[in-house]
Symmetry: C2
Subunit: 411 residues, 2 copies
Amino acid sequence: MTIVVQKFGGSSVANPERIRRVSERILQTAEAGNQVVVILSAMGDTTDDLIELAAQLSTNPCKREMDMLLSTGEQQSVALMAMLLCDMGYPAVSLTGPQAGYKTDGVYSKARIIDIDTKRVLSELNDGKIVVVTGFQGLAPNGDITTLGRGGSDTSAVAMAVALKAEICEIYTDVDGVYTADPRVVKKAWKIPEISYDEMLDMAAMGALVLQPRSVEVAKQNGIPLCVRSSFNQNEGTIVKEVANVFKELEKDLVVCGVAHDMNVLKVNLYGIPDQPGVADLIFSSLANEKINLDMIIQSGRGTPGEKQNLSFTTGKDDAWKVKSVMNAVVKELGAEGFDTRDDVAKISLVGAGMITRPGVAANMFHVLADNNINIHMISTSEIKISCIVDADRIKDAAIALHTAFGLDRD
Amino acid sequence: MTIVVQKFGGSSVANPERIRRVSERILQTAEAGNQVVVILSAMGDTTDDLIELAAQLSTNPCKREMDMLLSTGEQQSVALMAMLLCDMGYPAVSLTGPQAGYKTDGVYSKARIIDIDTKRVLSELNDGKIVVVTGFQGLAPNGDITTLGRGGSDTSAVAMAVALKAEICEIYTDVDGVYTADPRVVKKAWKIPEISYDEMLDMAAMGALVLQPRSVEVAKQNGIPLCVRSSFNQNEGTIVKEVANVFKELEKDLVVCGVAHDMNVLKVNLYGIPDQPGVADLIFSSLANEKINLDMIIQSGRGTPGEKQNLSFTTGKDDAWKVKSVMNAVVKELGAEGFDTRDDVAKISLVGAGMITRPGVAANMFHVLADNNINIHMISTSEIKISCIVDADRIKDAAIALHTAFGLDRD
């Protein structure tokens, strides 16, 4: 028997009716002869409601206690799903993250999974049960409950698939796959049937918020195929695997497989930094200590020895207050002139494994943006992506123009 | 330093404002130099809301999954309380039942505590923390979460007080102590300053639902004093301890210390039972197997050998469907004529340690009921209590009449 891991997000289990619909999907998979492990998020707005409740009691809630509080949301979903499956006559059992064997590094609110002890899950599967597991959480070395941070449920699912050597990890969400661009913004965008891990990673990291980047990384490292599809319809989703050949199959010669945009960008400018060794180390280790994830980093200045430098980087808006507190300390310690932050910017990216063999993609991208009078604040490139920070209010125009210019439009 | 265990029920933590009020009570106790362990129930209607949610998915929810679901309510309360205390500058930590070391017998939805491993709690106390623990739950031998059944939070608190050798276990509720009768029904009832475990046990078992009987039993066995008081005011509560001498102090010579009534009564009549050995064993072991708690049991019949017998017993209404299912099986197995159930009856009881030395209390009770035209269905007596089952619609009249007749009225 093959093991299939299925993950359903919060909107897929938002109410009893949707939980019923998901249960049918799970049973289809079980009745097709698979052993099924289901990973669930909290129901709909549960997590937000709990955060709101905490905010009424504490302006800066202790992270350990937030993890204790928020982990209840998933526990409710899995208990409800398991009792429904049992009621429908299928043996099922729910497990919390700690019960399912998730061991984390113990960092409250942003824990990483370090291992999964699959003993209990395998034993339940071998008893013929559908195993319904909480996403997003695991056990710290000291016995505390730790959450993986918001969106960590995808990573929970992929890590479980890896630990169980599952056939596939299916991620059910409210979109039915990965598109060449956000179809709400770019009308001529279309669903990509297959995509490579790297392309998906860059799409995801760039703001196509279909899959959490961490989950794609874990799948890639372990060669677990992912399928992204909708829990609201039976459409085929997008398969993410090592070698994707959709663009070859289509006998098209596309350099770019998608245009991604990300509105969740905080740009930080640090200026007047003394030119001395260890500066970047101090800045970025201070940020890392606070578990702040950075995206783009640019150091500028003329490079004249002894001249002051400027440095800009981007991160998510969620960490804004933490970033500011770290930057205040850094400015003081470095004797820098100061810093400012901007949250009215956004990131537009071109992604595609074909880029590496084609020169001129970046130049063409800048040309398209210039033609549309879209000003570029920052640029960053990798082998399979090019990203630009632009004004947030021009991001839609940028996405539509680039999707057309790179031959991705379909009717 | 002395350890104080404080338990707050669901109405005491029903919303953020009440949680704040409770936090002040906790801090008073901590600032008075005590080590404080707080046991909390779920917020207000949380448990009922979760039961309602489960009912939308399953007509007869699997008990294991109900425990998984319901245990989240307490987890939310303790996390919120701990983060509030931390926010106020007092070190605090929340623990789930399993984390706090509660080991249960593993019976889902009606588990009993078999042991508490206090290592973690003591270590947190010794670190100077206020420890906030979920009531109502513990860890089964197989690693599952089990609940102690509704109201089990009182027992959680007393058991923790015993395990920690606490100075006192304070039970905060929405009434400010134990009264000679329900003051909503009997206007001349008054609060008893001190009461013995046995009297409290009989008051509680008889329906003065201030303290769960199991919690009083545990306190009695281990000699832990209890204090029942309100979380909504600063009034002195009622102390429950081995030797209570309130009625002596008052220089009164009261035989009866209280009148209790209980509306949650299901009366079951089993009739036409063949007279043969082992009948009672079969009936009551079948009920015990389903964890149905019985209260009064009466066997009637003329006692002529070979003649068929009748048997009546009472239990709580919650278990009505289970009782009926057991009785159907029992009737079949015994070849009895049949059974019926009545839920329009209630129980009125006189409680008092003085009774044992005073003959005629029972006779006087029956006389008072007869004078008020209140029909008696069943009678049961013990050393310190007398109970009668009467029609539910006459229970208030019975309480008022008995309170007056036994000299308990105060203005």
